[in-house]
Amino acid sequence: MKNLYTFFKTHTEEHGDRVAIVFRPRYRTFQWHYGELAERTERIADTLTEKAIGPGDRVLLYGNNSPYWAAAYFAILARGAVVVPLNPKSPPAQLDRIAASAEPRLLLASARLPWPAAPLPSLLMEHAAEGERREADNMPGLEMDLKDLAEIVYTSGTTGDPKGVMLTHGNLLANVEAVAKSTLLQPSDHIITLVPLFHMYGQMTSLLFPLRQGAAVTYLPSPSSRAIMEALKYTPATHLVAVPEFLKTVMDRLEARLTPVPRWVRPLLRERIHHRVSETLHTIACGGAPLDPEIERKWRELGFEILQGYGLTETSPIITSNTRNDHRLGSVGKPLEGVAVRIAPDGEILVQGPNVMAGYFRNETHTRQAFENGWLKTDDAGRLDGDGFLYVFGRKKYMILGPGGENVYPEDLETELNKIPGVKDSAVVGVEESGHTIIHAVLLGDRCDGLAVVEEANRHLAPHQQIMAWSLWPEADFPRSATRKVKKEDVLRWLGSHQAAKPAAPSVEITPLTRLIAQVTRQDPRLIHGTTKIVGDLKLDSLLRIELVGRIEEEMNITIQETQITAQTTVAELEEWVRKERGRSPRLTKYPRWSLSPWAIKFRFPVQRALFLSWISWLCPLRVVGREHLETLQAPVIFMANHRSFLDSPVAVQALPETFRKRLAIAAGTETLYETFRWFSPLADLAYNSYPFPSRIEENIRPGLDYTGRLLDDGWSILIFPEGQMNRIGQALAPLKGGAGVLAVEMQAPVVPVVILGTEKILPPGYAFPLGRRVVEVRFGKPVRLTRETSYAEATRRIEQAFRVLLQKPGGKR
């Protein structure tokens, strides 16, 4: 293959109709086929042409994982330009330094993420992807050479000089071809990736490799445990790309659940547990940090193939990988084809191959230091066994892997600490504590106030770099090597024995919730007790409250509102609430409910006909007006109807054309159907596929939106009564609830207003028996389509307006 853009063109044409990327940014899922990815890429490339971006120009790429990121990446390559991917969590000063080093012509940023650093000429990738498509020019990307630069990836330098790893088209193509020779991935496979695309590991495993194979990838806008578990549940994923911390966290949870189960029974449950994680998943690729062999063994026991690999940004990135047939526990596998690995006399891993970088951008000194006789020095220690399997002892020796998979370079934190008066020197290390990495600073100085120093340093550090614990070095100087480098092995050893001997505070039980509260409020978890008031004692302001409820939701897999944490709420009260909420079943968010099971669907129409339609069609003969508005309409659709009688649901359903009636769900108010008339809800669920939708302002609307989004994703149309409850004001329409606008904007489905006239005279509110037989008129209005640029209130107003217009219409034909 001549270059990466030719690679992209060839494989998108080859796999045109196959699903490329699945994405669920808020409540709706959308997917792009490879053909669509190519089309959006060309649109962005056209916009880049207008901006005169050409070969050799650097373009910064800024955003979280999304299909637009992928299209923007290839659009930059289409112009023969150089991609500079950025970590959205980087502090503004670091982004400024990278920009100063890379001298970009343009910033291609996500509309979903504000750019925090100094202004640059920029474009929003989502907007550029929607632009007019011109006749495809011959993009200069097709003419690039293997030795031309494709990408500059900055690896370090929060406070020091950033190092830009230069990767050529040849580097990346060599690596993707080598990966393809060692790893099996079929076009029918589906990957869920938890690794960011700005990271080379994410880019290779979750963009370039699946593109080559024609497999689908699900990108998560924010890979929290909740999002991952949901994605595993709703996606037919066969492969997962993860970091070790995720495998450890999930395994700990599974084991905690198994604690009450006798040991001898557990092996019998393996298949069940496997299916609980996912029914389709069989392979987990793991990298970015060392994986505990014990964790790997447990996952393999459950029947998952764990493919651990090893790599560096400088090697595009994969050097070695275990494979399905060639695997050794605890090892990172054998070198990929074409890659040579050797161990230096001092134990350092050295690498040679077509995937090794061209050097550091405009940094001769670092480039020279990185190589020894043509071999790349990895800075890692390791050994090769007799069969050629590599074992890594210390990855980037003391690099710390943040909870989100970000690299934390101790040197950056030390530079920040050493600036503070009173600090002579410092050593930052990652300490494992109950399965989590604690960033610990050991300080050297006379009369140095550790807490004040750490607080000051944290003010200048990124969220993922925050120092969580500190100690004062007890001697006059750190142990140092001949070149005066601090011997961190000795510091770590001292820390291990020192901490064991002198715990910093009386031991307190640290629960997952107290740990979370401590992380959000930046407090020592050992100082948080049951009686601690979350708002007052821990200084939880409105910004932190949002973060805390978000993280409780994402990491504990429950839904919580901010109102749950008042000025008086204690940690114990919140613990109790979380405990109750976790035990609550079934949850609204569980999709699909029983009413969507094959047997419920099978019995739905016979039950509907026998119990409702027979007498309703006699009691309320229908006059339907406006059916022509539905003729060209594609499902899914949101039908919104006025509500003045219990007869409205069956009447509205009956008035619908069969295409919509066959695949319809009714969003019913939790207050009425699921509380006041709870006894009736199973029948309504069975006969009308109803489901609970929050109808009161104090209820959390998000589970309802989530469920509705999934229904629409699966092609079900929705019927909802947007007045919130039955209208008893004596007029045809009560003011709509704001939820109507929220639903229309968030769901991005056409809204059809439905006016029902006459049911209120047959069975008015408060009546148990009909007053008599009469004609009911059902009017369908023109579909209302609302863009995401519309505010919720404005959307509600426009829907209400559509109702008013429909109410004024004279009656139509029977």
Partner: protein, 112 residues
């Protein structure tokens, strides 16, 4: 005419940190889609201050962020739209200001 004031000040660097940490989930909880798309960091911090100020003026419970939508008139004057009507409320105005590391907002609500 009874009225109530609300005000709020947001540190933009701190807001950026929380946004980076909370990611898409933070945006989803606080901003309506029309408010986020392509908005600068300072603008989002200003909108956040406006929502907090409006919550204070209306005594809304914590977490009412999505109840308040802020749009901008062609003149650049922010306009607040409430998702649900508030009893007795007649008018609600906000004013937003952004300067350097800070964004602040004042809201005034008048009641019948």
């Amino acid at each position: 005419m009874p009225f109530r004031l609300g005000c709020d000040i947001v540190s933009v660097p701190r807001f950026r940190e929380r946004l980076a940490e909370g990611g898409e989930g933070f945006l989803e909880r606080v901003f309506q889609p029309h408010e986020q798309a392509g908005a600068s960091l300072e603008r989002l911090a200003g909108l956040f201050a406006a929502k907090e100020a409006a919550c204070k003026a209306l005594s809304l419970p914590p977490g009412s962020w999505l109840q308040i939508g802020v749009t901008e008139e062609t003149t650049g004057i922010p306009r607040v739209q409430l998702l649900e009507p508030q009893p007795e409320l007649q008018t609600l105005y906000v004013s937003i200001s952004e300067e350097g590391d800070y964004a602040m907002a004042v809201a005034i609500a008048t009641f019948a």
